[in-house]
């Protein structure tokens, strides 16, 4: 058994002591430093694709994603400096360029954009691969999808996968069926984790 060693690091000037193997995001959460995130799914392997949780480590040139970077002894981390905030706002604009209209009220993406002070995006709406359709239980609005892969990771049956390359990256059910014709059993795991309102539960008595 590995020994449970403690690691000391500094985040935004705040001394933090965490167990070995803790990510920078978990360490920041532990001391209440708010690092924005969209693709993070607690308890699942990080995908580090939304890039909103980027932080700067002193002495390193590139920014790193806090959700996938493990804390190391003596690290000095900047998690909310002005440069980071500026970068995150541009990344959020890119997210919004992909995040189209959807029903069901404001979603996590929109609430976070508001929090980051991003009211609108300078970038053009992105084209997308239309979804072959949802099911009786779930609405699929591919216009809203931001490709965070949360649903892909939440789906224990492996029904949801990501297909396509580059801007054509999109979700597929059983490699390209409508959800109603797939092996989905409607457990609801994907519906509760979608941050973009792209996968939503239909009402019990849906209007036609």
């Amino acid at each position: 058994m590995r020994r449970m060693q403690k690691i000391q690091l500094t985040i935004d000037g705040c001394e933090v002591s965490v167990r070995r193997g803790t990510t920078l995001l978990e360490a920041a959460d532990a001391v209440g430093i708010d690092v924005p995130r969209l693709c993070h799914l607690p308890g699942r392997d990080p995908r580090a694709v939304c890039r909103l949780c980027v932080v700067a480590i002193e002495g390193e040139r590139a920014l790193v994603s806090a959700c996938s970077t493990r804390a190391e002894q003596g690290m000095v981390v900047d998690a909310s400096g002005p440069r980071l905030r500026a970068r995150r706002r541009v990344v959020m604009e890119l997210v919004l360029a992909e995040h189209g209209e959807h029903g069901g009220g404001p979603c996590e993406v929109e609430l976070l954009a508001e929090e980051l002070g991003v009211e609108q995006t300078r970038f053009a709406p992105q084209p997308r691969v239309p979804s072959p359709g949802g099911s009786e239980y779930a609405l699929v609005e591919s216009e809203a999808c931001i490709r965070c892969d949360r649903c892909v990771r939440a789906c224990e049956r492996g029904v949801i996968t990501r297909k396509g390359r580059g801007p054509g990256a999109h979700l597929a059910f059983d490699e390209g069926r409508a959800l109603s014709a797939s092996s989905c059993i409607a457990c609801g795991d994907c519906l509760v984790v979608c941050p973009a309102g792209g996968l939503r539960l239909r009402g019990l008595f849906p209007r036609a």
Partner: protein
């Protein structure tokens, strides 16, 4: 008054948003666990520590068996499975407080082992696991004489069951509060209704079976006649209020009939399922003496769910959509040419490449001598030579060797000869013209790091490279058969992103060719988790020469430069490092051939598709300073820097794997903005947007492709500002090169 209503509404909305956030954080199944916990706590308080013990043991056994099953089927058991906790809690809640330890273990074993697939994968079981486990306990209880039951225990049959000697009809308040007898979790109708309604409004997706079950019960209890056939169950079961509140129906309707795995996959199917279960339960109560008929009703309906799905036309088994297997095909950077014909641009000049061959050596002679030295000595010689990777990143080779050697065997060597980078073709030329150097270098590296697999990846469809490599491996087999048999030739994907080490390894494993998160680095955990050394073809090809003599220094070696573009003799040139680019262009027949129409030189595009664009006039860059893989494309003055930037942006937009947001959306947006600029349609604000987006991509992208993608375009902004300004909102701007590129 109105304001107080608004306050309440706001408070409620906030609570609901909080509940939704909590639900997203927990996920669907952990939310179910959180709803079952209040029931368990109430049961433990109502029926005492013994009931608490039953619940704890049930959960403990189920969780343990679930973890064991997952570990045995080779899955990660790091994360406690919420499914096992739900099963354990539901089983415990349906037991009575006096259930002996052996029966709890039996129930848990039946639920977790017999009731679920070996892999514990959701939705592979025909029966509700908790109901199946409870049924096993019921069978044993029924076959045991009633005398064995301890008469002192409080929890026993529900008020719907006639106790010996007769019990009075239950009071409404008792039923709501749960002070009636029954199983641990079924007595408090109020608590069950609260958690159950929360479940169906916020968490559960399949809610039709619950409606069907409750509705059918109410109707049937009202409709069916009170007959003398009613025996065993109390006469007041015919009161729907007592039936609903006094018995276990809420527990089953809310928590068992919403199980996604064992109920039908359509709304109509769910209604039928629920109606069937409700009807069977009522019939059981009215006409049999079997205890817990609702549990049996659920179990009887479970196997009908697939049948209902078939009738109502929903597939349940996994079947990939037609044509799904033929995903992204092989792509060639030469455009739409079929791969077989795209081997390389015709008429390449190859100059000085023979300088790589160690003078006076027989093939594989250096390898033979290296094998007599100690491995550590060879690593030290490579370190002292200062050899760096020639695939673009120029990482010191010996540091990679150290990193791999620090890991346990078996180790793997991957020779990256895919060369998905436009403007570069030296690796292909090397593999075709001097394959024995590549193979010898690979054999040396494999010997030193003790790799028992060597994968040589070449560009797809490149048959001449493949046969040359094959011949060289046969040559190696004559002197070192044990090394030769470790070689495998692999056709690469041809995608630019697969030049990135981790993406190449993902491709070799048969997955999407996309970069993986680091750490772990490939040197720690690479191909199929084995420590893997990935080297570019050229890096390895230099090894025989470097190791053939003592004290050879890599920085003194010439560089292999792929020269293309506006030159008379494009090709691979072996060039000393102190030669300037202008001299090299001269050697390669700078400018395009014949006198009069010879256009002037505009710029040098170096470093593949993501390097800078250097103005040709007054350039004093030396060959030794070329970044990346050593490419030089000569741009004539008939082209335009803006068109060059647009082409680079377009390349990035085409080659992005689409995994992370800055690269996927950003490269497309860069392409769009450069395209507008090239058309003369862009407002001044575009320039600052380009710069801001470029910096963001450089700093936040997940891998090197996205970080480097904006570099060429940025160098155009820096080195050709007046050309860029001319393109700004100038409808009259005539730029042939830009028009061609757009």
């Amino acid at each position: 008054m109105a304001s107080s209503t608004r306050t309440w509404t706001t408070a409620f909305t906030r609570q609901l948003a909080g509940a939704r956030a909590l639900r997203a954080h927990l996920g669907a199944r952990w939310s179910v666990v959180s709803l079952l916990i209040p029931l368990a706590v109430f049961g433990a308080i109502r029926f005492g520590p013994r009931a608490g013990m039953v619940l704890l043991l049930s959960v403990f056994f189920c969780a343990g068996l679930g973890i064991a099953a997952r570990a045995l089927s080779g899955q990660s058991w790091r994360y406690l499975n919420a499914g096992s906790l739900i099963t354990g809690l539901l089983l415990g809640l349906t037991l009575s407080a006096d259930t002996p330890l052996s029966l709890i273990l039996l129930g848990a074993a039946v639920a977790e082992v017999a009731g679920k697939h070996r892999s514990q994968k959701l939705g592979t079981n025909p029966f509700n696991p908790a109901a199946l486990g409870r049924a096993a306990v019921a069978v044993v209880e029924l076959s045991t004489p009633a005398a064995a039951v301890d008469p002192d225990v409080v929890s026993s049959a529900s008020p719907l069951f006639v106790a010996a000697g007769g019990t009075p009809a239950p009071e409404l308040l008792d039923m709501l509060a749960g002070t009636t007898p029954g199983a641990i979790g079924e007595t408090s109708a109020a608590l069950l209704a609260m958690t159950g309604i929360t479940l169906v409004t916020l968490v559960a997706v399949k809610r039709e079976a619950t409606l069907g079950m409750l509705g059918t019960v109410i109707v049937l209890v009202l409709v069916l006649p009170a007959s003398s056939a009613i025996h065993g169950h109390a006469p007041w079961v015919l009161d729907p209020v007592v039936y609903l509140l006094g018995g276990p129906i809420f527990l089953y309707a809310f928590f068992f009939a919403t199980d996604p795995a064992t109920t039908p996959n359509t709304r109509l199917g769910g209604l039928i399922f629920g109606a069937g279960a409700g009807a069977l339960g009522v019939l059981g109560r009215l006409y049999t003496t079997i205890p817990g008929p609702e549990m049996w009703a659920i179990l009887l309906m479970n196997p009908l769910a697939p049948t209902l799905d078939r009738w109502l036309g929903t597939a349940r088994s996994f079947a990939p959509a037609p044509g799904a297997a033929a995903e992204e095909g092989v792509r060639s950077f030469y455009g739409d040419v079929p791969p077989e014909e795209s081997a390389r641009p015709p008429g390449l000049v190859v100059q000085g490449i023979d300088n790589l061959v160690p003078p006076g050596e027989v093939p594989f002679g250096v390898l033979g001598r290296v094998m007599t030295e100690s491995r550590q000595d060879v690593v030290e010689r490579v370190r002292e030579s200062g050899l760096r990777g020639c695939g673009g990143a120029r990482f010191p080779a010996a540091m990679k060797w150290d990193a791999v050697l620090a890991q346990k065997k078996p180790r793997v060597l991957v020779v990256n000869g895919q060369e998905g980078e436009p403007d570069s073709f030296k690796d292909r030329v090397l593999m075709e013209r001097r394959p024995e150097l590549v193979i010898e270098g690979a054999a040396i590296a494999a010997h030193v790091i003790e790799a028992n697999e060597i994968h040589v990846v070449h560009h797809p469809g490149d048959s001449s490279v493949r046969s040359a490599l094959d011949k060289a491996i046969s040559g190696l087999a004559e002197t070192h058969p044990e090394l030769a048999e470790r070689f495998v030739l692999v056709e690469g994907s041809g995608l630019y992103v697969c030049g990135e080490e981790s993406a190449l390894l993902a491709f070799l494993e048969g997955e999407r060719g996309e970069p993986r998160e680091r750490p772990p680095h490939p040197t720690e955990s690479g191909l199929r988790g084995r420590p893997t050394l990935v080297h570019n073809v050229e890096t390895l090809a230099w090894l025989p020469l470097l190791l053939s003599v003592r004290d050879a220094r890599a920085p003194e070696l010439p560089r292999l430069i792929s020269v293309s573009g506006a030159v008379g003799r494009p090709g691979v040139y072996s060039v000393p490092r102190d030669v300037s680019l202008s001299e090299l262009v001269e050697t390669a027949g700078g400018g395009l051939g014949d006198g009069a129409s010879k256009p002037g030189l505009l710029a040098f595009a170096v470093g593949g598709p993501t390097g800078e664009l250097l103005p040709a006039s007054g350039d004093s860059t030396l060959v030794g300073e070329l970044p990346g893989t050593g490419t030089l494309r000569v741009v004539s003055s008939s082209s335009c820097p803006v068109a060059e930037a647009l082409n680079a942006a377009r390349f990035a937009a085409k080659e992005t794997c689409g995994r992370c947001t800055p690269c996927r959306v950003g490269s497309r947006e860069l392409e769009r903005m450069w395209s507008e600029l090239a058309k003369g349609h862009a407002p001044e604000a575009t320039l600052s947007a380009i710069e801001e987006l470029s910096d963001t991509m450089t700093e936040t992208s997940a891998c090197g492709l996205g970080r480097d993608a904006p570099r060429r375009a940025l160098s155009v902004l820096k080195s050709f500002p007046e050309v860029v300004t001319r393109h700004l909102e100038d409808e009259e701007h005539e730029c042939d090169a830009c028009r061609r590129s757009n």
